[in-house]
Amino acid sequence: MMDIFHMDSFILYALAAGMALALVVGPLGSVVIWRRMAYFGDTLAHAALLGVALAVAAEQLPMAGVVLIGVVIAVLLFWLEKQRDLSTDTLLGILSHSALALGLIVLSVIQSQGYNINLMSYLFGDLLAVDRSDLVLMYGAAFVILLIFSQLLSSLISISVNEELARVDGVAVEKVRFIFMILLALVIAVALKVVGILLITALLIIPAATARLFSKSPKQMVLSSVLLAAIAVVLGLYSSLSWDFPTGPAIVVSASCLFFILRVILSCKSEKMDSVSAE
């Protein structure tokens, strides 16, 4: 077992990066759950690979490529949804897999041209390789995301409850929805290094879903999911270092364990209450 008071700097960096992620996945994940956007998150994540490949080819930051492709996907989805002849999940299925396939093609083309991209690190994350410049970028992005999110929260709650009521109350529904999609793309960019493309949606969904189990109000759910995501990061990192698990999957499994433990406890509790009230 390692001594947590004598951690190497790479562990501190990893922990800091995980915390940056926890700060943003909780709030945005809550809204993703309210608005049933899990599949959209997945689509953005799949498309992120294309963004990374294009960014590497253009010798830009991978994060910039991810955000750019996220915006393209959001615009495409907006336009396709307006046509009204196909449902959103079908459209997302088309976008998600087209983007992933295109990403793999671009990746192989640029690899054949001599660019060195470690596909595995993008698919599953590489938290222990986070360096100082990554951290600066991640916290910068997290700050911007939270700043915009806090301005948007009441509108997001409002349109999640009922879009028409929100519209009559003067909420610019389309604008809010669009900005939220861009924020999600930014979160995916932040999460890329931590858990990788394949597991990003898990971190958006699981802590927020766990928070839903006991939350009474939207704001409580947002705050609790940050806390739960942070606990999952710490547990995941700890188990990864202790037993040499891959870090990203260890964080996701920790989050799932929290979910199932709480689910079982709360179910037993409500059953007990039911039997008491039945007597």
Binding site: I33, W34, R36, S154, I157, S158, S160, V161, N162, E164, L165, R167, V168, D169, R212, S215, K216, S217, P218, K219, Q220, M221
Partner: protein, 265 residues
Amino acid sequence: MIEQTDQAGTLLLTAENIGFSVRGKTILTDVSLQLHSKEIITLIGPNGAGKTSLIRILLGLSHATTGRVKREENLRIGYVPQRIQVPDVMPLRVCDFLNVAGLYRMDQCQQILEEVNCDYLLYSPMQNISGGEMQRVLLARALLKMPQLLVLDEPASGMDIIGQQSLYETIRNIRDKHDCGVLMVSHDLHLVMAATDRVICLNTHICCTGHPDDVSEHPEYLKLFGDAIEGLALYSHHHDHEHDLQGNIVASEHCHSCEHNQDMK
């Protein structure tokens, strides 16, 4: 159309020659109306008459194909939809729902719920309240905005007679207290009569409009008021133009186009 109102209310909203069609199907043609403060207007008409389309256009949720809607500047509209379904995945208490934007204090929420006789619901989850309670909570939410115009889409649907009566009474009290204009859509003709200043009968176009106040002074009406079936029959009587229709309202095209009112029964 010449509009006159004996109320001292100010003009809130004007609709001019509204036409609306969806995929070639005509929903509304040439609908003009004015809404004033302190006035309760009820929109009635058979299913598919375009009532919901019309209020959606007035609210700005849909755009009219032809004609235009003019709202007073910065008009505060409180909207009470027929019903809403709060997703189960959202933890939301009544107080959170009332105060989504975080603009009000808890005691204001409490007070507004008292006004609609639902103050015991303050901390209840939105998913746990009944249909009738939902209507009142939706009404409370609309009232928190201090609306100048209150728009209600079938506020009493799915309620029993007692519930409906008390809801209409609440709406009337609200009008008296807040001096707002009220536009509601309703099927419950007999009960609405008592709580309405003007009835607009819609069936794609405006068939006729009238002052039920005058009707309600009719001794036969007073005798029959509260009796659902007779009340309904009397309403039709008002419709079949043997009754004086306060000529100031009815334009020529209305008079012979009311065969639709048979559908409403």
